[in-house]
């Protein structure tokens, strides 16, 4: 089975994901802009059982959504502070890994994987929307 490896900036936390992701979600919500400091979050969604974390255990911050009231546990490297993905109350059994944290970011391809842009209502006007990517004003579940 194919493996995709990655980790944080300082190398203290490493991960390996076995097999292909369920989808890639590019989230333009205001919360993801603040979380990443950039224009959107890009999270690769895997079946939780297919991801192994190693090294220093990640630190965790629990956010409760203003809109849904549900929790989201965000993980970080406690040393370098880099994002390491999250788990969500709303979607049990899956975890995300940040697209940028993979050793080979180029393996993520809209022609091979399901890639969705969500929360376009708060999108930065200059950000690209690839024609290969599905788009949603809010979440694709809503």
């Amino acid at each position: 089975m194919v493996e995709h490896r990655g980790g944080c900036v300082c190398g203290g936390v490493r991960f390996v994901a076995h097999g292909e992701p369920l989808r890639i979600t590019i989230c333009h919500c205001a919360w993801c802009q603040r979380r990443t400091g950039t224009a959107f979050g890009a999270e690769v969604v895997f079946d939780q059982a297919k991801v192994e974390m190693s090294g220093t255990p990640p630190a965790r911050y629990r956010h409760v959504s203003d809109e849904s009231g549900r929790w989201l546990d965000v993980e970080f490297c406690a040393r370098c502070g880099a994002n390491l993905g999250f788990t969500l109350e709303a979607v049990p059994g899956v975890r995300t890994l940040p697209a940028g944290a993979f050793d080979d970011p180029a393996w993520l391809r809209p022609d091979r994987h399901t890639v969705r842009h969500v929360f376009l209502r708060s999108r930065r006007a200059w950000a690209e929307l690839s024609p290969l990517v599905e788009t949603y004003e809010a979440h694709f579940r809503s």
Binding site: G6, C8, V9, C10, I26, A30, W31, Q33, R34, R35, T36, G37, T38, A39, F40, G41, A42, E43, A59, Y61, H63, V74, F76, R79, C80, G81, A82, N83, L84, G85, P98, A99, G100, A101, P105, A106, L108, P110, V115, R124, A125, W126, A127, E128, S130, L132, V133
Partner: protein, 152 residues
């Protein structure tokens, strides 16, 4: 668009708050692999601000040093509770602070003047109308002038 000052921002949990009191130098998108890993996203945004115009209003920061693509030390500042990265000190340029504009309370107010390291960009993350540089820009001061004309 003339930028309304000051520019306030902060972390996700609200403990760390900052203020930019005067017009920044400019905003640049960077697609390099360091920035991908640092943000977890496809590119970073850097809002370069004079240090004298930047103030932490509340909260402590946790710092960590890493070397950028050039080998220069970058000191990252994150909130110790929610780990949001609000700003970066670039040790080679002590007079400026690199504020992360996604953490602004009004992030839509600022737009990037250029995107750099497009040679390694995620093809789905290139901004269609923002000038491109395969690697570092040739004349960053000119880019900053262009940005300040747009926002000043």
């Amino acid at each position: 668009m003339t930028l309304a000052l000051p520019l306030d921002g902060g972390c996700l949990c609200g403990a760390l708050r900052y203020r930019v009191k005067a017009l920044p130098l400019g905003v640049i998108m960077c697609h390099c692999d360091n920035c991908k890993r640092r943000t977890g996203s496809a590119f970073s945004l850097s809002m370069i601000t004079w240090r004298k115009d930047f103030e932490v209003l509340s909260g402590e920061t946790l710092t960590s040093d890493n070397s950028g693509g050039s080998g220069a030390i970058h000191r990252q500042h994150v909130c110790p509770k929610c780990f949001t990265r609000t700003h970066t000190e670039m040790m080679a340029y002590p007079n400026v602070i690199n504020v992360r504009p996604g953490t602004l309370d009004r992030p839509r107010d600022v737009t990037p003047v250029a995107q750099v390291w497009t040679g390694v960009a995620q093809p789905w993350a290139l901004a269609p109308d923002v000038p491109r540089f395969e690697e570092n820009p040739t004349d960053v001061l000119q880019l900053f002038n262009d940005w300040q004309e747009r926002h000043g």
